[in-house]
Amino acid sequence: MPSDEATGPPPLLQMTGVTKRFPGVVANDAVDLSVARGEVHALLGENGAGKSTLVHILYGLQAPDAGEIRLDGRPVRFRSPRDAMAARIGLVAQHFHLARRHTVAENLALALNDTPALFPTRSLRARVAPLADRYGFEVRLNARVGTLSPGEQQRVEILKALLQGAELLILDEPTSVLTPQEADRLFAAVEVMKAEGKGVVLISHKMDEVLRVADRITVLRGGRVVARREAGEADAGELATLMVGRTVRRGRRDAAPEPGAVRLRIEELRVDGEKGEPRLADVSFDVRGGEIVGVAGVAGNGQAELAQVLTGLRAPTSGRIRLDDRDVAGLNVRTLFERGVVHIPEDRNLVGVVGSMQVAENLVMRRHRQEPFARGRRLDWRAVGAHADEAIRRHHIAAPSRATVTKTLSGGNVQKVILARELDGRPGLVVASHPTYGLDVAATEETHRLLRAQRDAGAAVLLVSEDLDELLELADRIVVLFRGRVTGVLDADSVDRGDIGLRMAGQVGSDTDPTAHGGTGAVRT
């Protein structure tokens, strides 16, 4: 702002009149944003509001059509993230930018330019360990990034940005798959950065988080700035209303119907990893029809494997899985889907959709072998198109058209495509991994409503989430996993948060020999 310039030093970041158009949408419409040194500036907005686009422009991933960026008063123009990094801007992106074939250590080494040319990862361990320890992140330095769950990848991204020591750190939904404890530690780090006079741009859909750490809040809607608030003068309800343009009703924790018969029964399930190390061991529990069972645990403790085994993406090493009293262990994805197993996968961009295909195509994949989309061996594109228009309308998917290439949708809208596809029918078993990760308040409520509706219709619902609030709100029972073993099956009504936390950390409930389950490869650094 010109007035700032007259009075004090220019702000750390000043974006003025930033505009970005994509075919069919104006993602950013003359957006102004400034971040002072020592400020955490939160960027809020519904899915597709243009938040990620704005920070991509700031990070040199995309060129603005118009507008200006100044750092410490000097105009800058970034041609690539390399330029942005050189200007000491760090980004924890919503979609991770890691080299999947390389190990975590190699990825971290790549991000640093002062690592030695030979054996760059050697000295890294010493640098990462204290940092990871400070934030309580468990990272498997030698694991290939491609084998990590999104939650683990997010930790790597955060470590990478912190290692780089940015002056201006951009966090695009950094806590979506972190545990509350990890989020707390991340925000403690943010406080330190603040005290050191650095700046932070925080994008989040979690209102309590924003209200806790942000100094100023900018709300985007449809690419425009619709409101700007000082931290003190905002409350969650008002912000939610500003974001979506209407009042959002909080779903009630309604009385669940009496659960029916057991639909899913897991007995002594064991799943080994690529190197023969156990990823799941001795896992036994039931899910009844009309019941939501939550799976709690820190990312990388077997939740991903559990979801994969139940949906046919991975074969169990031993143990039994019965669905409606039929043995389904080891059946393939297609057969399980036909038997009524739907799956909201953890890795939405890589697994859940084909990014380069149209929204309409992604809305029918998996169901493309069924009527009315398949007519014999042929596909009926008219039925596919009609279905897409209907789903886009009903699930409020922000897509310029059904023919839009799916990877150009915003993160939350990609997830809406998956939810629309998986939760539209009458499944017998719903396996939902982080279903609301990245969704705005309204879409989160809508997803909770859909999951409850499936439960009420008699489906067995398995909800994998690291968001305890969500688990406690939706689940009837909670299964806690630690290093591939069940450390507790708890009743959601009478559960104690502290107790869950201890079980997630393996301090309660892991009655087996502590050396026996060290095989997950997790290195407590």
Binding site: Q14, P64, E68, N332, L350, V351, L379, V405
Partner: protein, 384 residues
């Protein structure tokens, strides 16, 4: 447009900047292909000049003898037939990211099978051509299935296996025509005996244009396009090519789908071998005469068509023209025969060079020279 006033009111510097684009439309893809061809032809012209041939005069003479002359045209068309068949097949394989470099070997396998039936089956005359057709189809497919199975079962890279099998096919043909199938009528030459009349494809008038194969090629292109666009199988092939992880989640059977699509792809190349044996040479001849690298040129055909089977018909015609023009260059312009290969290489290089054009776009970026005030933003608003 109030552009001038606005720029007077608010000094704006316009700069151009390369920017990643999420998706390239078909118009742009064609533009890039055509651009690649134009640049390749310009480079070839420069090469001609280096050989002391006036490029414009050469072009005129080539056009005269290939496009403005019925016989020349038929030569272009008959050169295109194997390129169409193999090229269309490759578009299917490439869609699923099965990088089949072995169309040459699959073509030769088809030619061997067709020749075997023609020479030794003793089938009645009316059954001979259909049997040769089928044998070539099956042999081509079989030549592709080995690499396909190795890939889906053991994860062996198909680029290497398909390429290696080309050499196996080349030496197999050489061995046959020098050994067991060596002709009795023309002793001293490494040919098989000529096919009987019933094993020869009809040609158009007095040319070498074996039109039944051309009809098959066109039908195949339409069928593959239909398969990709309209069927469950085609949808699954496209998913497999676009994202193997998502295809697995969608329940696509990697094994069956890969085997099926490779069978079609390699079978099509086998048919190209049938066309050359039964339509042109009427005997099994040396691999270099049977196919001057049609199987490799077909890779360019498929890539230039951006993996679109119908477009592959057009690009096959273009590369068929390059091949026919090569004959003219050798005969009329006395240029070395390798020049055709050089031209094709240039086309391929230019396509590869055009790829970034598709991934990036040149964006016009307005940078205000002074920090704009609240009213300054109208500059962008009115630029619409």
């Amino acid at each position: 447009m109030s552009g001038p006033d606005v720029s007077e009111a608010r000094p704006v510097r316009t700069v151009w900047k390369l920017e990643r684009r999420a998706h390239a439309g078909p118009a742009l893809a064609w533009g890039a292909s055509i651009g690649a061809v134009v640049v390749a032809m310009a480079l070839t012209g420069a090469l001609f000049a280096a050989f002391g041939v006036d490029p414009l005069d050469a072009l005129r003479r080539i056009v005269d003898r290939t496009l403005l002359d019925a016989r020349g045209l038929s030569e272009v068309a008959r050169r295109s037939i194997p390129l169409m068949l193999a090229g269309v097949g490759l578009t299917l394989a490439f869609r699923a990211r099965f990088w089949n470099i072995g169309a040459e070997g699959q073509l030769l396998a088809g030619a061997i099978a067709a020749s075997g039936v023609a020479l030794f089956s003793g089938l009645p005359a009316p059954l001979l051509l259909p049997a040769m057709f089928l044998a070539a189809l099956v042999a081509g497919a079989a030549w592709g299935l080995g690499p396909a199975l190795l890939k889906v079962r053991l994860g062996v890279n198909e680029i290497i296996t398909t390429l290696m099998l080309n050499y196996v096919a080349i030496y197999l043909v050489r061995w046959l025509i020098n050994g067991p199938w060596k002709g009795t009528s023309l002793s001293g030459f490494a040919y098989s005996d000529p096919f009987e009349q019933a094993a020869r494809l009809p040609t158009w008038a007095a040319t070498r244009l074996h039109w039944p194969t051309l009809a098959v090629a066109i039908a195949l292109a339409i069928a593959v396009a239909w398969l990709l666009a309209r069927t469950r199988f085609g949808f699954e092939v496209r998913m497999l090519g676009a994202s193997p992880e998502a295809a697995r989640y969608a329940g696509v059977d990697f094994f069956k789908t890969t085997v099926a699509l490779v069978a079609v792809s390699a079978g099509a190349a086998g048919l190209a071998g049938f066309g050359e044996a039964a339509g042109i040479h009427h005997r099994l001849v040396d691999p270099n005469s049977l196919s001057p690298g049609y199987g490799y040129t077909a890779i360019i055909v498929a890539l230039l068509a951006r993996r679109n089977p119908l477009a592959a018909l057009v690009t096959a015609l273009f590369l068929g023209w390059v091949a026919a023009a090569g004959d003219v260059m050798q005969v009329a312009l006395r240029l070395p025969s390798q020049i055709v290969g050089v031209t094709q290489g240039l086309v391929l290089l230019c396509i590869l060079a055009a790829e970034p054009v598709l991934r990036y776009r040149l964006a016009r970026v307005e940078v205000p020279l002074a920090p704009p005030g609240a009213d300054g933003r109208t500059a962008e608003g009115s630029a619409r």
